[in-house]
């Protein structure tokens, strides 16, 4: 299992990388952490003629706290974000979700931009981005443009960016004082891809009333998806065991997958209900303990 030959470029600036992408576009793959791309190359499922290695673009490695969001450079390693005290303090759902991405040695090299560009249906970072309603900035020959999570999540393994564009920054909104959150997922072994995962952010009011709910699922549809019927069911309700259960039962409406050898559609649907219930409960407990 060895990769097929390729031409290798190692730009040191975004400008240089974008020039290379403009020149090689469809024949090229961008190499960030390589934790998904290199396995595919080793299997020769991917045989790019050109590899553009962005690991030397130091300007893409940063975490910056803004007034209402955290800006993270695309080459920032997942483990750096996971262990950042600021991220844990301002956007704990991101740290918690990252702890589920592969294993530590994977996160030590895997990048924030890489997971989003790869577009795995079970990707935790994309699910959190969708839940929070953040944004992604890409650079291309026409300059920079901003994508919503929905625009980015165009399809399975098909991020909504063109072949001459490069993800440069991801913006995650900071959780407000009246918001609580949860992230839980089920995988067959620690670090495996999620059979089903749930991210939830709830804006809470007096008496445990949920004023706004954002809930997204991963691993159960071609891309991470919002569970809008769960959100609508939770909104305006006083959260308790029965209102949470009623909402969780609607999670199956967001499931869009076939039976496959890891899990049947029926089992994944069941997991969604269970994990939505547990995630909302966790969020509510955290709110209560505040």
């Amino acid at each position: 299992m060895k990769p097929a030959p390729f031409e290798y470029f190692v730009p040191t600036s975004v400008e240089e990388a974008v020039e290379l992408l403009a020149r090689h576009g469809d024949d090229a793959k961008v190499l960030a952490g390589g934790q998904s791309l290199v396995p595919m190359m080793n299997f020769r499922l991917a045989q790019p003629a050109v590899l553009i290695d962005i690991n030397r673009i130091v300007e893409l490695g940063y975490i910056r706290e803004g007034d209402s969001s955290i800006a993270i450079g695309a080459m920032t390693r997942q483990r750096v974000v996971e262990t950042s005290p600021m991220v844990r303090d301002k956007c704990a759902i991101l740290s918690e979700a990252l702890a589920n991405v592969g294993h530590q040695a994977i996160r030590n090299r895997g990048t924030m931009g890489g997971t989003l560009a790869h577009g795995d249906p079970a990707a935790e970072v994309a699910t959190v981005l969708l839940t929070l309603g953040g944004s992604v900035t890409v650079a291309g020959p026409q300059g920079k443009r901003e994508l919503s999570p929905e625009e980015l999540l165009a399809g399975p393994y098909a991020a909504g960016i063109s072949s001459d564009e490069l993800i440069v920054e991801i913006n995650f909104p900071i959780l407000a004082a009246n918001e609580t959150h949860g992230f839980l997922e089920m995988s067959r072994r620690h670090g495996d891809f999620a059979l089903a995962g749930v991210a939830a952010v709830l804006r809470m009011g007096e008496g445990n009333i949920c004023e706004r709910a954002r809930v997204a699922l991963c691993g159960v549809a071609p891309t991470p998806v919002r569970a809008t019927e769960v959100e609508n069911q939770l909104t305006g309700k006083r959260l308790d065991a029965s209102t949470i259960q009623a909402a969780a039962e609607l999670a199956s409406r967001a499931v869009d997958c076939e039976d496959e050898y890891h899990a049947s559609r029926e089992y994944r649907t069941h997991l969604c209900q269970v994990y939505v219930r547990r995630t909302i409960q966790l969020a509510l407990e955290r709110w209560g303990n505040n």
Partner: protein, 164 residues
Amino acid sequence: MRPVGRKITVTVNGEQYVREVEPRLLLADFLRHGLQLFGTHVGCEHGVCGACTILFDGVAQRSCLIFAIQADGAEILTVESLAQSGKLNLLQKAFHEHHGLQCGFCTPGMLMTALELLRENPSPSDQEVRAGISGVLCRCTGYKQIVDSINAAALAIAGAEAAE
């Protein structure tokens, strides 16, 4: 067609090497066949088994998912860096004493992973050890002896540091 190699300078276990590498050469293969450092094992070649885990600029990474050309200027530590003058270090000694290896195939990955784990968390709980080594697969011992070995190493390292 044999693409022309490119020159890289890489420090492995404190020694500097200058070599020509083809871009598609994996770091694991470079270490084994280029530098004859066979301690790093290659299992699955797609980042699942963890046997090829090394420290790349100080952090544990899969050497089968990095191209050797990317290691230009990097400092790498492999399992060969652990023993000094033929003497096992405390972590290796703990694996030896607690039967932390059977066939030995996963051991280089386990040791390099445990090295990082104990550096970040010098007295981990059993649960933390299990989570820490979850990225390295062992098909012999059933992990219990490996967890025991890492716990014993944590105590031995703490003891040695207290004695200093």
